[in-house]
């Protein structure tokens, strides 16, 4: 599904965007047009599927260099280890597509994790009175906590025009503080097996978090590519002024993307506590950075309007596969950090080349 560049086949979102394009952009588009006259096929491959190619090369290299990499058990591990960051990164994609950013997701992970855990713990002291309650209630509460955090950020960004960076930086701090207040700084252990199923269970051998990630991905893909709301998200990110002039309620769009990001962060928080078996107040620290990294590696532009959720999923998989592969080969985690840094910058360099020609 090519929907990166407005000169390529128009995806639903792109139609609105090119319509909304301002003349300023045409300079870059001219240069690009020249490039297309060259070896079109090669450019198409590198530009549109570069990140997918990079992923395949990484998988190929790791398959050759480590005998365990391509085993069923390890593939399941990689997907499992990618699931939480994947869910966060998909939520982040919605926000970044509107030119926003959500720095608060790591803290929301901890808050939703600990609040929901207090409803589904069998510990006599850590939970709220009457716990454990049914799993559905715990899941609902966690989701609500995430949505509430997202709604507050969304409201402030969209109604009061406070920059997203500032708003969500504030939420990052506030949600972490609320986490510590709520749990008195202590973990909530002993989550019920029924709740833990979402993190540790499986369906026909496929881990539950992987199925959840697949569902989140499918729904998000559908929203962004097949609905009017999705087209509006691209339009708002591509050119907010033009979007407003064309009658799009950009305040509402901006609000909803933070609600989506917050809700998914809440869900990711429950996945994390279900996996580790205990909700920790220190959970999720710096998770926002990996989520943003996945989005950026996946080709979504931080200046909004351009990108796709498929790229984000591959970006998250690249990070997961890289960490897993280097662990398997016994390489120090320090190198993992250096490689991830190089990958993020490299991906954006590719993005720049795509947007402004070589």
């Amino acid at each position: 599904m090519p929907n990166h560049s407005s000169t390529f086949q128009p995806e639903p979102g792109q139609g609105v965007r090119s319509m909304a394009e301002e003349p300023v952009m045409s300079v870059g588009d001219d240069k690009k047009a020249k490039g297309w006259l060259g070896s079109e096929q090669r450019r198409l491959l590198v530009q549109e599927y570069g990140i997918f190619l990079a992923f395949l090369i990484l998988v190929a290299v790791l398959s050759v260099s480590n005998e365990f990499f391509l085993t069923a058990g390890n593939i399941s591990n990689v997907l499992l280890q990618t699931s939480i960051n994947g869910v966060l990164a998909i939520g982040m994609t919605f926000v970044i597509l509107t030119r926003g950013i959500d720095l608060s997701v790591g803290s929301v992970v901890a808050l939703a994790g600990i609040v929901s855990a207090s409803f589904v713990t069998s510990s006599a002291t850590a939970g709220i009175s009457g716990a454990p309650y049914p799993v559905a209630l715990g899941l609902g509460i966690g989701l609500l906590v995430g949505i509430a955090c997202g709604a507050v950020s969304g409201l402030i960004v969209s109604r009061f025009s406070v920059p997203a960076f500032v708003t969500t930086l504030g939420m990052l701090s506030a949600a972490r503080g609320l986490t510590l207040i709520y749990g008195g700084g202590r973990p909530v252990p002993a989550l019920t097996p029924a709740f833990r199923w979402i993190g540790t269970g499986d369906v026909f051998g496929i881990p539950a978090p992987v199925i959840i990630l697949a569902i989140v991905f499918a729904v998000s893909w559908w929203i962004l590519n097949r609905t009017r709301f999705g087209r509006y998200i691209y339009a708002v990110g591509g050119n907010p002024h033009a979007a407003r002039t064309s009658g799009i309620n950009i305040t509402r769009i901006q609000f909803v993307v933070y609600v989506i990001s917050g809700g998914l962060a809440g869900f990711a928080g429950m996945l994390l506590s279900a996996r580790t078996g205990s909700a920790l107040p220190q959970a999720g620290i710096a998770y926002e950075l990996d989520a943003i990294a996945a989005v950026v590696i996946g080709g979504t532009s931080l200046s909004g309007g351009v990108g796709r959720v498929t790229g984000t999923l591959i970006g998250a998989l690249i990070i997961g596969v890289m960490n897993n592969g280097l662990d398997l080969m016994g390489i120090q985690s320090y190198y993992q950090q250096v490689l991830k840094g190089a990958l993020i910058v490299g991906a954006v360099m590719l993005d720049q080349k795509r947007n402004y020609g070589a």
């Binding site: 202590r186 580790t276 960490n323 398997l328 985690s333």
Partner: protein, 328 residues
């Protein structure tokens, strides 16, 4: 005349109350941060000290928020407000020295607790030697696997004093078992989630080869246990150890899944407070905490010692219930 009497009486009352307030010893505690369970137990133990409860001591706890600069500023505050003594658990061995210097310049005694600081100006230090716990936990793992086989080590954040000392202890025990191979050795930054991911990958990379897991803290050992369970393996066929004795780990010890070495936060806190009061009252004080009778190996010695080493307690099936009862 009557009016004069009332004025005089209230003036005397005022003077008396301010004199009383001056008599009250003001002690500040500066822990590196209060987000984790260990330091929460530590801070709670200070509040439960007999001298604080009786009102003899006015105690203020400053949350250092894991930032050396924040701690330094808190020291400035305590110096300005003329605290009588300070209890200090610095975030960093070297960065804490400047803070100690500023208090020493103002003539305020500083008692170290839990974490070390590179300074000769520290009046006393009450803590536990991490090389010993590192040795003890590795020894329990090695004993359980019979001094042969393969182990993995989950390390703390590289460069932190606890990580350095615990690793030193780990290595000392490993040197006694030359047949044991360390298959993997990486940091999981004290984090359960990070350790879980690492262990999942190690179980893949070394199928059926890992016999023991040395976790430099309980959180990471618990992460390894989750990974083993997720892989469908029997946790009890592994030898797993952690350090600190956090509540979740006590439950795991009770379930026979791991061993832990308890670091006594209460003794470190109350011992330091007794020393702080002792110094503030210029030696005119007898220690009030019961820890001095609990630990015969750590005698009070008239508050003269530079270093008080609080012994480590291995958590076993025998004492785990008693320890769990102390955690509400």
């Amino acid at each position: 005349m009557k009016r004069w009497m009332i004025a005089l009486a209230s003036a005397t009352a005022l003077l008396a109350s301010s004199a009383m307030a001056q008599e009250k010893i003001k002690i500040g505690a500066a822990p590196y941060g209060l987000n984790a369970e260990f330091m929460q137990i530590w801070a709670a133990a200070l509040q439960e000290h007999p001298a604080v409860k009786s009102g003899e001591v006015e105690l203020t706890v400053f949350d250092g928020r894991y930032d050396a600069l924040v701690q330094q500023d808190q020291f400035k505050t305590m110096v300005t407000q003329k605290y009588n003594a300070i209890i200090f658990a610095p975030i960093d061995v070297d960065a804490g020295a400047a803070a100690v210097q500023s208090a020493a310049d103002a003539g305020i005694p500083v008692i170290g607790s839990n974490t070390r600081v590179n300074s000769d100006l520290l009046t006393s230090y009450v803590g536990s030697d991490d090389t010993i716990s590192g040795y003890m936990e590795a020894k329990t793992v090695l004993d359980k696997i019979g001094c042969k086989g393969n182990v993995v080590i989950l390390e703390g954040p590289v460069g932190q004093s606890a990580q350095i000392s615990r690793l030193e202890g780990n290595k000392k025990a490993l040197a006694e078992c030359p047949d044991v191979k360390v298959l993997e050795d990486q940091t999981a930054n004290w984090s359960r989630a990070e350790a879980q991911t690492l262990m999942e990958n190690w179980l893949t990379a070394h199928p059926k080869q890992i016999n023991g897991v040395i976790g430099q803290n309980d959180e990471m050992a618990l992460g390894a246990i989750e990974a083993i369970k997720a892989a469908g393996l029997d946790v009890k066929s592994f030898a797993i150890a952690g350090i600190d004795g956090i509540t979740d780990a006590l439950h795991a010890v009770k379930a026979g899944e791991m061993t832990s070495i308890l670091q006594d936060a209460r003794a470190q806190a109350q011992g330091a407070l007794d020393l702080a009061i002792f110094k503030a009252k210029k030696g005119d004080y007898k220690p009030q905490s019961d820890i001095w009778t609990t630990y015969k190996d750590m005698p009070w010695n008239d508050g003269k010692e530079k270093i008080y080493n609080v012994p480590w307690t291995p958590v076993t099936a025998e004492n785990v219930d008693q320890l769990l009862a102390t955690r509400k």
